[in-house]
Symmetry: C2
Subunit: 243 residues, 2 copies
Amino acid sequence: MGVDLYFTLGELDPADVQNRTVVVVDVLRATSTIVEALANGARAIYPTTGTEEAIKLISSLGRDDTLLCGERRGLKIEGYDLGNSPAEFTREKVDGKRIVMNTTNGTQALVAVAGADRVFTGSFMNLSAVAKAVAGTDDLTVVCAGRGGRFSLDDAVCAGAILARLGTEWAKDSDTSDAARVALQLATHATVDAAFLAETAGGRNLVEIGMEADLELCATVDRHVLAPAMVDGTIRLLPGKGT
Amino acid sequence: MGVDLYFTLGELDPADVQNRTVVVVDVLRATSTIVEALANGARAIYPTTGTEEAIKLISSLGRDDTLLCGERRGLKIEGYDLGNSPAEFTREKVDGKRIVMNTTNGTQALVAVAGADRVFTGSFMNLSAVAKAVAGTDDLTVVCAGRGGRFSLDDAVCAGAILARLGTEWAKDSDTSDAARVALQLATHATVDAAFLAETAGGRNLVEIGMEADLELCATVDRHVLAPAMVDGTIRLLPGKGT
């Protein structure tokens, strides 16, 4: 099976992922936060591309059991219920809630691949579960959210780590892209921990804005055995899958 | 000095390179062809973004001493004088000529960075010369042309190899981008030869269209001690520089 991989959203034409199985990766922090929220009982996550869309959506869903969450420059957006730190998405806060999410990179990536056959969210926190969910597919595309449209090392290494769990046959396929091979190589040479994340551009930004603790959480490999899936634009845990 | 690097053109906002020193890399094959052409006596190279622009430019320059060169899908464009294989740009063909060039990736990248302070073209064929030309600048940006807007391993490794020749201080700078560090790492682990290029997506395409011989040429590290520079949209050898 040939594997494709996008380091940045700008490379992606939504038509490229039609009929494919996609994993979206935004280690710092959207896909880490998504799996943490679902693990703590959130019913569903609604990714949006901007505040206008997020406000409109939460108005139609009703605010009773829905939280509005997201960030700009890493910080909670004014008037929102929560930011984008996985540490905020505790069971106390999110159990039974729907979550409308609006972040700089991750939710843009999720919306961009909405036309794919299947979409999962991947992070270090659910590395093995997402790899298991996509194992054996012959049409896998991994999409890194990146950082402001730029290459992001944390996402690239996580994408490679997911691929590393799928064996090595795919890497020999002539349809496998240069980027997929490079991600595998990067993952092979990386040690995943908070110090690694702190050296990436995204990690440096979190340290600067006082959110260093998130690095420890986002670097916790296999904290959850869950593979969140996006169906009709909404991310949920599928019954009997990845649990 | 912080070093920036773009794996793909889609990540680049032309404003990002204002006041910066830029090296454009398109190993397969535009920047390899450019240095070969100038080494064989071509007077100047005019990069263009499409056939319409190329035809208009050659009409104004006059066809007497100007060649129209370029490719689509790797093959010479119908009616053009030459394609984009460095092997075609012999002294017999190009000595004393001006060259209007129109390729899928490389000339797009060159035009995109035309607003930079200084622009050089880099390839394995002039690796040391281009590194020497930019050594000591504190505002270096390397731009990989990529392949159809996608990440291209040959360009990434060449970009990293140029950076590797600039010592290691820059890699410690917190302004250095994730991509620059990754390119350095890729170059450290790569063996540059025709077999390496043949395994990249761009190289596989050249093998498929019967241009495998170009891989040997494009992998010849330091074949030329020349650092072509683009001034006012035209690429030339600067007197006394990189010769």
